[in-house]
Symmetry: C2
Subunit: 341 residues, 2 copies
DNA sequence: CTGTTAGCGCCTTCAC
DNA sequence: GTGAAGGCGCTAACAG
């Protein structure tokens, strides 16, 4: 049994509340040096560690923040989480990270779990199949910020990226190289960033006078296999794309697999330009030209937005969306299309 | 303000304890159907969610498990975490993941935080610079299992890998291809697995009649830059290694960078064999021959060991070490040394 | 300067 | 079948 405030008090020959006061370090309430010393001694002797559960119950405040992300193994999300973790610690909070595995039920449970354990705020990258639990949080004015993904019809704080614009720029870049048939490959198509990327892709084609065809858009799930099948079928078209805009790191690996299996070269036969830069990108079989998320900035902004809400009581006015700019990392996976295309 | 048991009770016109009984679903204590229905209705109307903080305080049990890992962005650790997360959920636990960034102080704080928040058990991959906090947990018989890393002089449950043996096998393989000068590159050298790999490396050299030289061992930290410098300096030796055994994924990237910058080819000029397989390995500029950790098995065993301790009260006999076998993933980064070496 | 009191939300034992 | 009482460990308000 770990020792309690009472144990320490008994040992130091004082009342528990005195121990509490000393340990909370209330400078305005004066306490005799002798008493303090006896208490500190008792704390050390008993190896006393305050019970944060009890503290949280009493204070209705836990000094903890919950983070809910779809995939802890994704360099993108874990990068954001690590930035936030550092900021949390500096500000005296603990960060509890929950993984949802892109599963809506797990996310709902995670949010419930975290709130019912009394976290002071929540940062969520939602799965976006349902939104009731998010709406509930908003209704209760619970400090919340969404990252990467967000619901356009729910007023929450959020940090999102300029996905439409970036996709637009990527397609333009490809078109400038001479590509006329540009495919789009993605995982789960319902996610906000993916929706936006597709929007940007379509708008660019239209602005550039390139035809849009549904057959060049291939949708799947978050797995490598799914992306492999997507790319494979696009490459089996008689008039196949000469370039791909790809949404997601794992999706990119799946597409690469399909391209190489078809005996095609990157970028000589097919160009690929891929959302989500990782530290692996420069070391891949072909160093991939990617669109890079400013991970630290996302984390910083998310934490700042959350802090604001936690302080202000998160009224209506506290809800802000920050849009963050991504950058193109030029590497070796794009080039003009083959001459005979 | 979220609603409480008392609110629900008031609304249903019963006593709080009755609500508690109904919600805990104690089948042995009979409660009239009518009362139950009123209570369930009130729960729904008030959107009642039990306060897990209060529950944990009362029950001295939180149905939560803490996991403390050095780097959430590492595919290896996050893979283990995800397996454990799934098992936890199935068994009715929440998993709270804390990232230490290989920082000993953060780890100590994380362990303290988690325990003082009442988690029922802890799975830790320690930084291994200090061990007092681990010893404390053991002394208090707190359910604990170490993964990947462990302290040979502390009796804890642990899941570790056959690192020495695997390193031995890797060196043997390289020697069989004809390599006489085999370098060893690693990050933090104090970590249990690294110590063991170095042991296996040395033993293999000795058994195979190959000379061991300190100059062929290059130690650093967990960064890509450090590994780059390590490999670079080894490759600048007049009698440079023709093969490397590399400990760690990021270390491998750093080494690759140095090798390519030197204008050397893998495997024609230098072979590399690398600890820690990832999903990226097959897609790298040269598909890397790696040693693969059975991530799911590690997670499964860790959770099983923890469950055992949580049930049995984690007495002396509950402490077990499981040793898990890694496998060599043959790809294209090893070959006989160049003829003129 | 320090002790007393009350209660955060919940669950369990004991009544009836 | 259900209510009442007590307390998990802690802190804040009020005494003195």
């Amino acid at each position: 049994m770990p020792s309690t405030l009472k144990d320490v008090a008994a040992r130091a020959g004082v009342h528990p509340s005195t121990v509490s006061r000393v340990l909370r370090g209330k400078e305005n309430i004066p306490i005799s040096k002798a008493t303090k010393d006896r208490i500190y001694a008792a704390v050390r002797e008993l190896n006393y560690h305050p019970d944060k559960t009890a503290r949280a119950l009493r204070l209705r405040r836990s000094d903890a923040i919950g983070m809910v992300i779809p995939n802890i193994a994704s360099p993108y999300f874990s990068g954001i989480a690590r930035t936030i973790d550092t900021l949390c610690n500096a500000a005296g909070f603990s960060l509890m990270i929950f993984d949802t595995n892109e599963n809506q039920e797990k996310e709902i449970r995670a949010v419930d779990d975290l709130t019912s354990r009394g976290v002071d705020g929540l940062i969520v990258a939602p799965v976006q199949e349902e939104d009731k639990h998010i709406r509930d949080l908003v209704r209760e004015n619970f400090p919340l910020v969404l990252v990467d993904r967000h619901f356009e019809d729910i007023a929450t704080s959020a940090v999102i990226c300029n996905d439409a614009e970036s996709a637009y720029g990527a397609v333009k870049r490809l078109a400038e190289l001479g590509h006329q048939r540009i495919g789009f490959v993605c995982g789960q198509p319902n996610l906000y960033p993916v929706v936006k990327r597709l929007e940007g892709y379509k708008k660019a084609l239209s602005d550039l006078g390139l035809p849009f065809s549904e057959t060049f858009v291939s949708v799947g799930d978050a797995t490598l296999e799914s992306a492999y099948r997507s790319a494979h079928s696009l490459l089996s078209l008689s008039q196949k794309p000469t370039a791909f805009l790809i949404s997601g790191t794992i999706t990119t690996l799946g597409a690469m697999k399909a391209i190489f299996e078809k005996g095609l070269r990157i970028p000589a036969d097919v160009s690929i330009l891929s959302f989500t830069d990782t530290m692996y990108a420069p070391f891949l079989r072909v160093p991939i030209t990617t669109i890079h998320h400013p991970v630290e900035e996302i984390g910083r902004l998310a934490f700042a937005l959350l802090e604001e809400q936690m302080k202000s009581g998160s009224g209506e006015k506290g809800k802000k969306q920050e849009i963050v700019k991504m950058t193109l990392e030029q590497r070796d996976s794009i080039a003009p299309p083959p001459a005979d295309s």
